[in-house]
Point group: C2
């Protein structure tokens, strides 16, 4: 690409010089008149033109070279140019159609940023979430109650067909996604309803405090407040905790918070489309955004270009070295983690961080299980129309069924 | 990039027209003389020049658009341009140094292709393999015996420190990588020695027939021949089978072959840097090569540009719909698979196919476990200098210890 763009100035410079040489006046006004003074002016103009062309050429090429990362090769940085990546041939037909919709129609682009107008941003995000929630409510009949635990609002989701006998003493806690700024009472239901229905279990989704109004550790405190109340009715071996995106992060942060505040571990956790460290890390922080047709850093929701305010609005003042923020900072801490499920996808920005956190848990002696779907974006499983999402629901349900005690 | 290159013709066209308008003859020969005929010629020339410029512009832009994949947007194909991807920040210092070595020094490039000169190719590949084998032999002291089982040559690797008590009745079978054309007695030891030493177990590595001299199903037959002999001394619940790259494929193909020939399943299998389907699939078939500084299709060994002959030399005549070739073709078959371990990495070409096979096994009701390392190439674990590789050895050893019966 670089070579082509360097050639085109040469090409157009030669056209410029060609126009001069083809001047229709030349033969009559210059050569036939043999006017030395005019000829000199003309030659000076030609040389000036060529010099100007060379200067332009040098400038444009120089500017373009400056755009290449410096010392790219010696640092191991790879520059990828004009790489055509088709949709993954491993996608279901439904997932192919959804990906084309996301990449071509860009249905979730636009709307106010959380930084500019948090209420408008939340309204727009909730509208997007409701587009996922509709099909989920049709597929998975549940009953939803509202209840306050320890001063924190929650939604309690139970399957209309009833709770399975083996799950009477078991419960799952959910903490929703939405970049710590949105998703309350919408993403919460997207994440809770399919699992409650498939596993035939009660799911309590926690409406924790978010940014920009609240800051870390407000959400961890709210999860702990609900957990303390739930522990009055359920043994920790019968409790699971999970969430997606910011909720996946908050799941890990909550385990760290419980450890610090002498609360027992739940039996198992689900860190879905998230990690125990900084979410933008490794190869996926650079590759996943472009694979979704975006610039980095990419999206907190499927196909949405991320306002940079989202995670920082809640976490901006927190110490990134604090294991209560990023538990991966402490291998002693994560060694004590309960069995953890990771779900991620190759076009999700969190993907590299997720596989790294899974490795870190296993290396520390904990149990961690990884499931990856190819060619799909962050939080793909919010879309229940995809067979891949429904496979993920089964994986989540089986995981908790395996690790929650009977 | 496209916009920049489209702008530059405009820029240079305007220079061309500018030269015409700045013609030093104009004021004297044209306007001051008020020569209607010359003025008309000049105007015609200007318009002709502008038309020529527009035609060139259209042609260059049209040619460039033609270079873009046709219907890129409507098909969901993404074109990535000028994307700088640094080394993964999740790599160990040793892995960073290794990646810079691979990407900058390209130590494994060159040498004859398997198609041109199979003996020269194997000699070169063995040389590369010995560069990995040296550090492994230093780190992991083992004893190596040679033995023929059912007419097939094998190397039996036992730890110098002795076999662990719990492993006296257990054995692992290994089938080496090398694209079904190379790796015999070199890659075999790279894959066997660390596992034998860490797990304190006997590993028998099988020197199966390869292409281009032999064709599918020669290798499956050889694995079955050894397996039948080993079953005389070991119960199938005490046997594990694993391999890397082509050997990972052959592991799955062997389970399909055993099923067809009424041989019992071993207790567990390791499909390492490989899959149960076509290895070049999904996002990684397009992204992993460029991330290793190569064109697709990429390499069968870390950092090596693949001669296209490698897999086809052995598999070229086989039916790609045959579950004996690609077990993923039959969900009934893979439902009967023993517990399977997948190890892969985000810059390995097989990565998408591996995660897809792992999902397919879990979805079919089998047990499959996935471990992914970020920012590393195909078969990274051949390099024992990397802490990531030594983590992978631990994962492999623990997996077989968990699933082989006592």
């Amino acid at each position: 690409m670089l070579s082509l763009t360097c050639i085109s100035p040469l090409f157009y410079s030669s056209i410029a010089i060609g126009f001069l040489l083809m001047d229709p006046n030349r033969s009559q006004s210059e050569f036939s008149q043999a006017n030395g003074e005019f000829s000199m002016i003309r030659r000076t103009a030609i040389f000036a033109g060529m010099a100007a062309g060379l200067i332009c050429l040098t400038g444009v090429c120089g500017w373009m070279w400056a755009e290449e990362p410096s010392n790219a090769k010696s640092e191991g940085t790879i520059v990828i140019d004009r790489l055509a990546v088709p949709l993954s041939n491993l996608l279901s037909p439904e997932a192919r159609a959804y990906m084309v919709h996301l990449l071509v129609d860009r249905p979730f682009d636009g709307g106010p940023s959380a930084e500019q107008n948090i209420q408008g941003y939340r309204a727009r995000q909730d509208e997007i979430m409701r587009s996922f929630l509709g099909p989920i409510e049709s597929r998975y009949p549940v009953r939803i109650e509202e209840r306050t635990f320890g001063g924190v609002f929650t939604q309690i989701v139970t399957p209309t067909g009833g709770i399975a006998a083996k799950n009477r003493d078991r419960v799952l806690l959910n903490v929703h996604g939405g970049g710590f700024v949105s998703g309350a009472r919408t993403a919460s239901l997207i994440e809770s309803i399919p699992i409650a229905s498939i596993e035939k279990i009660k799911v309590i989704s926690i409406d924790y405090r978010m940014g920009p109004e609240s800051k870390f550790p407000a959400a961890s405190e709210d999860v702990a407040a609900v957990y303390r109340e739930v522990l009055k009715d359920y043994s920790p071996q019968h409790i699971g905790l999970y969430g997606c995106s910011a909720g996946g992060m908050l799941t890990g942060m909550s385990i760290a918070w419980f450890e610090k505040h002498n609360l027992p571990n739940p039996a198992a956790i689900g860190i879905l489309c998230a990690s125990l460290g900084h979410m933008f890390a490794g190869d996926s922080a650079h590759v996943a955004g472009p694979l979704m047709g975006m610039q980095v850093p990419p999206a907190p929701h499927p196909g949405v270009t991320a306002p940079s305010i989202e995670f920082p609005a809640y976490l901006g003042d927190a110490d990134p070295n604090d294991p209560l923020v990023y538990p991966i900072n402490s291998s002693d801490l994560i060694a004590k983690f309960p069995p953890a499920l990771f779900i991620t996808s190759t076009r999700g920005f969190e993907f590299s961080s997720a596989v790294d956190s899974c490795n870190a848990l296993n290396h520390a002696g904990a149990v961690a299980e990884l499931h990856v779907w190819d060619g799909l974006p962050h939080a793909f499983w919010y879309n229940s129309d995809l067979p891949e999402s429904r496979e993920a629901y089964e994986v989540i349900a089986k995981f908790f069924d395996r690790y929650l005690h009977l």
